[in-house]
Structure formats: structure tokens, C-alpha cells
């Protein structure tokens, strides 16, 4: 007997808002979360802006708790607490409760700050909390500790596909009867001069310093790279019968996932998008959906010249002419790119889109790239049809990782 998996709680802290509701409102209104950085080090870089979280963790948690947590761990706790509360703080057997929270880079700010301490003060100056703060599994581990989750605490790492991969891993944990509830998602906190210099050296970042809010422009002809964002998103996944039995609010069903890898290049997308196409087909098959069922897609679309076109091309090939009735949203135009948090916040957006029957807009498209032949939701949110509908979230990571998640109304 197949164990179905539903979404019963949401949490987020993003460049657009301190929680899911404020983020969603700003997203639907087409607001940008991108700002000029205030740090002096920005002058060392060709990029002077990023998408910092709307609300600092300091406004959402105790000082003493914060000082032993990396910023990525702070985001994970903030979003998980919201999601857990949203799910009704379920009374669950701890041995049936798991956590799968990803990060693309982990506690890189801690690593670099403590290296500064080492150089200035010697080994005695390095905090004893350094390792628990810098480890990429730290966000998952801290949430697991808080909730005393004992079914398993995991952290898949696949760069910008990490958040989606975590949600897919959680889906399998429930399907295979390892757990009844999983706190799943992804976080990232990498706005620091070193990772930004690294991305800039790859020519991956937009350098539109004179207009930061206009810099993230997926599908626009003049896009010039992504905008680094930070924050995280959390979904509470729950076995359907378990959720029904406790009278939980059920948003929608996570019906399937598709995974593949390109075997092509460490950073560049395969221009044929063969791996992406396979991941979409696997997700549809896993979800027992046809291409006709899909009405909305939250695209990976990071605003890089090569990536956006390769993805759009792959979407058309995978969905055929049915792509013409899919409302495609590129929400990174507003949030920036949260790396390991991206697939997670975008899954939160899909769940909200299915609930509200509304596809978020894509902002900053002045001239649609003629090579993009999908139906992009531009400028204004667009209503989604009534009845039974389904939506996809695709995520890709450096290394050639492809993850596609399929959600459907009940």
C-alpha cells in the first residue's frame, strides 16, 4: 500500500519577508528583495548588492541562542519554528519524526570569521562552537535537536539543487515508512565577500550596480547573471493518513520527484537539457501525472545568460505542446538566488500557489529573450484554473544535479 505524502505546514525567512505570509504578499505584489550591500567590503567586488533577508534573525530569536549558531542555522530554526507551529505543533512519536534540511555551502561565514580570529588571536581565539556552526548538516542537526527528532536527520548537498533534494529525500523517508512527519527544506547564508568573489570570478553574478532591484531578470534579453540571496524555506511533510487522523490542515500533496545528473560540465548547463528532461519525465511518472495535468511551474531560472535558455528549451522538449498551458514563474527575479535554499522557498511558493490558485509574477523582463518559448507569467500574478491541478518545481545545481518535485491539489 502506497503511503501518500502531504504538506501540513510552511515556514520561511526570505529577502521578501520574515515569514510565509509576508513573503507571499510581497511576491504576489512583484516586490524586489535585492538591495545594495552596506558593508565596506562591497568595494572590493565587482558586485555591490545582494538579497539579504528582510528580517534579521536577531529580531526573531534570543541573543544567547544566536551566538552559538551559524547564520544558516538561525534561518533554519526561524523557518522551522514557523512551519512546526503552522502544522499545529503535532504530537508525534519522536522515533517517527525526521528532519531533512539542506544547505549548499554550509556555515561558510563562520568558517571565514573564525579564520580571521585564528590569524588575529591564535588558536585560543577560535570559538569552541566553530565546528558545529560550520558543518553543512548543522541547520538540520539543530532543528532535529530542538524537536528531538529520532527517525533520522539528513542533509543532502547538491549545490543549488540541495533544497529540492532535501524535500525529495523526505518524501522517500515517509513513503518507505521510516517516518510519519519530516521537517524538510533548505537554507543558505553565504553573503560574504569570499563566496561572492568566487561567484563573481565565474562571471555568474549580475554586476548591474546602478540598479540592484532590476538586476535579477530571468528571461530578459539583457540578463547578466544571478543575484545572491539568503534565507530559507521549510515544509512539514506528513503521511496522509497520519495527517487526516489528527485533523491537520492539509495544503496539498507532494506527489512525486525526479532526479538525474548531466554528466556534462561542473558548472555549465547541458545546452540540450537532456538531464533536465529526464528529471521531469521521472517526476511525472513517479507522480502518475500526465503533461496535461501541469498548470504551473516555478522555474530554476536564475537570470544567467546560458541557464535560463537551456532550461526553457528543456521544458518545451519534456512537456511538448502542453508547456503552452503552463504558467511559468521565475521568482528569483524577486528573491534572488538562495542556492541551497532556493528549491525550498520555491516549493513553499508552489504550495501557496496551489492553495491560492495564483501563479507569482516574474519581474524585470523588459524584453523577453526570443529564445525563451515558454509562457512566462510577467509583471502580474496570474490566476490558476479551478479543479484538480498540479505544479512542478525544478532545481539544478553546479555539478549537474537536476531535481524536479511535483505537487498536486488533493
Amino acid at each position: 500500500m502506497t503511503r501518500r505524502v502531504v504538506v501540513t505546514g510552511l515556514g520561511a525567512t526570505t529577502p521578501l519577508g520574515a515569514d510565509v505570509d509576508s513573503t507571499w504578499a510581497a511576491l504576489i505584489a512583484g516586490k524586489s528583495g535585492v538591495r545594495l550591500l552596506t558593508e565596506e567590503w562591497r568595494e572590493l567586488l565587482p558586485v555591490h548588492f545582494a538579497a539579504r533577508v528582510h528580517t534579521e534573525p536577531a529580531d526573531q530569536m534570543e541573543r544567547v541562542e544566536m551566538r552559538r549558531l551559524d547564520r544558516s542555522e538561525q534561518f533554519a530554526l526561524v523557518a522551522s519554528r514557523e512551519a512546526w507551529k503552522d502544522a499545529g505543533s503535532p504530537d508525534v512519536d519522536k522515533e517517527r519524526l525526521g528532519v531533512v534540511i539542506a544547505s549548499g555551502i554550509g556555515g561558510v561565514i563562520t568558517l571565514l570569521d573564525q579564520y580571521d580570529n585564528l590569524r588575529e588571536k591564535g588558536a585560543r581565539g577560535v570559538s569552541p562552537h566553530t565546528v558545529p556552526m560550520l558543518m553543512p548538516n548543522g541547520p538540520a542537526a539543530n532543528v532535529g535537536l530542538e524537536l528531538q527528532a529520532k527517525a533520522g536527520v539528513h542533509t543532502p548537498v547538491s549545490a543549488c539543487a540541495s533544497g529540492a533534494e532535501a524535500i525529495g529525500y523526505a518524501l522517500e523517508m515517509i513513503r518507505t515508512n521510516r517516518a510519519d512527519i519530516i521537517v524538510s527544506g533548505g537554507v543558505e547564508a553565504a553573503i560574504h565577500q569570499l563566496p561572492m568573489a568566487g561567484f563573481a570570478a565565474m562571471k555568474a553574478l549580475s554586476t548591474r550596480n546602478d540598479a540592484p532591484e532590476r538586476a535579477s531578470r530571468p528571461y530578459d534579453r539583457d540578463r547578466d547573471g544571478f543575484v545572491l540571496g539568503e534565507g530559507g524555506g521549510i515544509l512539514i511533510l506528513e503521511e496522509y493518513e497520519h495527517a487526516k487522523a489528527r485533523g491537520a490542515k492539509i495544503y496539498c500533496e507532494l506527489v512525486g520527484q525526479g532526479l538525474s545528473s548531466d554528466g556534462y560540465h561542473i558548472a555549465a548547463p547541458d545546452p540540450d537539457g537532456a538531464g533536465v528532461q529526464r528529471a521531469i519525465k521521472f517526476a511525472l511518472a513517479d507522480a502518475k501525472l500526465s503533461t496535461k495535468d501541469i498548470v504551473h511551474l516555478n522555474a530554476h531560472a536564475t537570470s544567467t545568460p546560458a541557464g535560463d535558455v537551456a532550461e526553457a528549451h528543456a521544458l518545451r522538449l519534456a512537456l511538448g505542446s502542453d508547456i503552452d498551458h503552463v504558467a511559468v514563474s521565475a521568482t528569483k527575479s524577486m528573491t534572488g538566488h538562495l542556492l541551497g535554499g532556493a528549491g525550498a522557498i520555491e516549493s513553499v511558493f508552489i504550495v501557496k500557489a496551489l492553495q491560492e490558485r495564483l501563479a507569482p509574477p516574474t519581474i524585470n523582463i523588459e524584453n523577453l529573450d526570443p529564445a525563451v518559448t515558454v509562457d512566462v507569467v510577467r509583471d502580474k500574478a496570474r490566476p490558476l484554473p479551478a479543479g484538480q491541478i498540479a505544479a512542478l518545481n525544478d532545481s539544478f545545481g553546479f555539478g549537474g544535479h537536476n531535481v524536479v518535485l511535483a505537487f498536486a491539489t488533493l
Binding site: 541573543r63 544567547v64 552559538r68 585560543r124 581565539g125 570559538s127 569552541p128 562552537h129
Partner: protein, 82 residues
């Protein structure tokens, strides 16, 4: 430089409050760092390093295991500073 026990206690209160978030008013000589003040082994390292800096003393790792209560720490630091 000689330090008075009262000065050391006052300084330790500030350090433990900063590290563990425990209100200074609850930090007394007979309090156990682990059981009463929620200073775990990692946070104890922070307390020790901060105390070394503040009081200009060395607290070797082998001595730290004997610092069970706040009073133990005050005595060690006062003696080390003599």
C-alpha cells in the same frame, strides 16, 4: 596583580551571562556550571578563554576539569593572579 574574590566573581558573572544567557543575579559561588548555569563543555571553553583575557591569568586545560562551581573558578583565578 592581586585580584579580590569579589572582583573576580563580578567579572565571572558578566562572562557567564554573556556566554550562557543566565541572569547575573542567579550566579553565585556555590552554583555548578553544568547543572545550575547550563554552561556545557563547549561554553565552558568560552568562559575560560574570556576569563583568561579579562583577568590576565592562564587557566590550563587540565585545571578546567576541576572548576566545577563558580567558587572553584574564583579561587583558581585569585590564586593564579597572586
Amino acid at each position: 596583580m592581586a585580584l579580590s574574590p569579589a572582583d573576580v566573581l563580578a567579572g565571572l558573572k558578566e562572562i557567564v551571562e554573556e556566554v550562557a544567557g543566565v541572569s547575573a543575579s542567579t550566579i553565585e559561588l556555590d552554583k555548578n556550571f553544568t547543572d545550575d548555569l547550563e554552561v556545557d563543555s563547549l561554553s565552558m571553553v568560552e568562559v575560560v578563554v574570556a576569563a583568561e583575557e579579562r583577568f590576565g591569568v592562564k587557566i590550563p586545560d587540565e585545571a578546567v576539569t576541576d572548576l566545577v562551581t563558580v567558587g572553584d573558578a574564583v579561587n583558581f583565578i585569585v590564586n593564579a593572579a597572586k
